[in-house]
């Protein structure tokens, strides 16, 4: 389990990000004493740092430089000041990535996963989500169920990912479509239905029937 250190002085943002990352099984800690971020960093020994730029006492660039003196741990900057200058500064100060505020929780997790994989996960087993014994491998775009492995198209992967990330909830068709659009697949209502049906057939072929339920007029839910 990776440890992520969150240096953000806005309580709501810090706590929401913390809750979200904990749902993804990361161990997290919030910086509490902004005059001693380095001390807390050393105590927690994280594998990744999320760093706001505007902080009390010293700014995020300062702490990033301090961390860089003793560690190569990846640092992702979060900031509302997203002009070119700030992004260049962030990279110069040793930051690994820059996420402009306001951001999507999904974008945040995706970037964290990508950077963690690049920095630590040399074996490349990738990021996986599990449901009813089916294992979705996001990095390989495959689903493994009872020793059987099937390749997924980009859309199928995205649909399964969204559904599996929200296991006990009904995901509306609009949300699914928006997620697909956000990954550059400009589908319409019909294409979504076609995609879902094809995915269902694929799933039942490996014995996963009733994996995706339809909530009429609303959307879909995992079975």
């Amino acid at each position: 389990m990776y440890r992520i250190f969150i240096v953000e002085d806005d309580e709501i943002i810090a706590k929401t990000v913390k809750r979200h990352l904990e749902r993804w099984d990361y161990e997290t800690a919030l910086a509490l004493d902004f005059s001693n971020v380095l001390g807390e960093f050393l105590n927690f020994a994280p594998q990744l740092v999320l760093m706001d730029i505007k902080l009390p006492f010293y700014n995020g660039y300062h702490w990033c430089q301090e961390i860089r003196k003793i560690s190569k741990v990846p640092v992702i900057f979060l900031s509302s000041a997203s002009d070119n200058l700030n992004i260049v500064m962030a990279v110069n100060m040793g930051g690994d990535d820059f996420i402009p505020k306001p951001f999507d929780l999904e974008v945040l997790t995706a970037k964290i996963q990508a950077i963690l994989r690049r920095s630590y996960d040399f074996l490349g087993q990738g990021i996986v989500i599990e449901h009813r014994g089916a294992i979705l491998n996001l990095s390989e775009a495959t689903l493994i169920y009872q020793e059987e492995k099937m390749e997924l198209t980009k859309n199928e992967l995205r649909i399964l990912q969204v559904l599996m990330e929200n296991k006990d909830k009904v995901v509306t068709r609009d949300v699914l479509m928006t997620k697909l659009w956000e990954s550059d697949s400009y589908v319409d209502e019909n294409t979504l239905s076609v995609n879902i049906n094809r995915l269902r057939k694929k799933l039942s072929a490996v014995g996963l029937s009733d994996f995706i339920f339809t909530k009429k007029g609303i959307g879909y839910r995992l079975g």
Binding site: I12, P102, E165
Partner: protein, 333 residues
């Protein structure tokens, strides 16, 4: 000629006095019984002197007049080229000028300072407001990851867009704003603009036709992104059903055009020439509550700074086509 008339007019009392003296001299000499030759000679001598004096003086005045005319071009920037005053009146006029000039400078600096402060405050405010927006967005996403909070998120998205516009507006006014022109991959800009508006496309059930492009153009990525987002936002705003088509067309080896066409309500012919004016909303503006007449105005100003062309074609009820023209980046290293 103007100068001549004005010169004579301002010296008329001297000329008349002189002529009066000549008349007295003439009368006295005639009454005295002087011979005609002597009378004529005396009068002629007098008139000759008069002409000589006024000619010399007039030339001097003429030169000063020319100098003043020339100063019309420079007086707004500096009073340095002013002649030495010839009398106490000129001296006082010059003094008044310098008082006005200094007052003007003071007011100018004051206004500039105020503008700068305003801009700084805008920029600060934008960053300030982004923190609660971010917090709210995270809370909404957490509460409704699967669609229960779509309406709230959509409204928040509008707030985000408007805040971005304020920031761009303030930055555009600032003379320190940098435009970093470099090769930009058009595809990346288009796709990330669409990603941003994905929620709007899906909500309004508008489909998108775009086949991708590998073209690279010379532009500033961040500003170009703002331009495409604004155009896309308009296209979505004024299209209630149908589709938006994004295509990239090459012309010759140097020019490339980004075309964003929608099947929306279009723009009235009489409104078309004025759509880039600040605050102009036209007929569509009356019918649409979210029009402010700022979006296209900003687009037009930014694209001018970037050196891109912009043309808008539209037919009411059929749709609108916006074309941005670029110079192709030299892809050879």
């Amino acid at each position: 000629m103007n100068f001549f008339i004005s010169y004579v007019k301002s010296n008329i009392k001297w000329i008349l006095s002189f002529l009066l003296c000549e008349g007295i001299l003439f009368t006295l000499m005639v009454m005295n019984g002087n011979p005609w030759e002597e009378v004529c000679y005396a009068v002629f001598l007098g008139v000759f002197l008069l002409v000589l004096v006024f000619f010399a003086d007039g030339i001097g005045r003429w030169k000063r007049y020319r100098k003043l005319l020339e100063m019309e071009y420079s007086v707004a920037f500096s009073l340095e080229r002013m002649e030495n005053p010839q009398d106490i009146l000129e001296q006082e006029y010059q003094k008044l000028l310098s008082i006005l000039f200094e007052e003007k400078l003071r007011q100018e600096n004051g206004a500039l300072e105020m503008q700068r402060e305003m801009r700084e405050y805008y920029a600060m405010w934008v960053h300030q407001i982004k923190t609660p927006i971010s917090a709210l967005k995270l809370l909404l996403q957490e509460k409704g990851p699967v669609g229960e909070m779509e309406e709230e998120l959509r409204e928040l998205f509008f707030i985000e867009q408007y805040v971005e516009m304020v920031l761009s507006y303030a930055r555009l006014e600032s003379e320190t704003t940098d435009f970093v022109v470099a090769p930009v991959k058009l595809d990346e800009v288009i796709r990330s603009s669409v990603r941003k508006y994905a929620r709007m496309f899906v909500h309004k059930k508008i489909s998108l036709e775009y086949e991708g492009t590998s073209e690279v153009v010379l532009s500033d990525k961040k500003w170009l992104q703002f331009v495409t987002e604004q155009i896309l936002s308009n296209a979505i705003k004024y299209t209630s059903k149908g589709k938006i088509n994004i295509s990239v067309k090459k012309e010759g080896t140097k020019h490339i055009f980004l075309v964003i066409a929608d099947t929306g309500i279009g723009i009235r012919e009489e409104d078309l020439p004025r759509i880039c004016e600040k605050g102009y909303t036209g007929y569509n503006g009356h019918a649409h509550r979210r029009s402010t007449g700022i979006g296209l105005y900003l687009v037009n100003r930014i694209r001018k700074k970037l050196g891109h062309s912009l043309s808008v074609y539209s037919r009411e009820g059929e749709g609108t086509k916006v074309v941005i023209g670029f110079v192709l980046a030299d892809t050879e290293e």
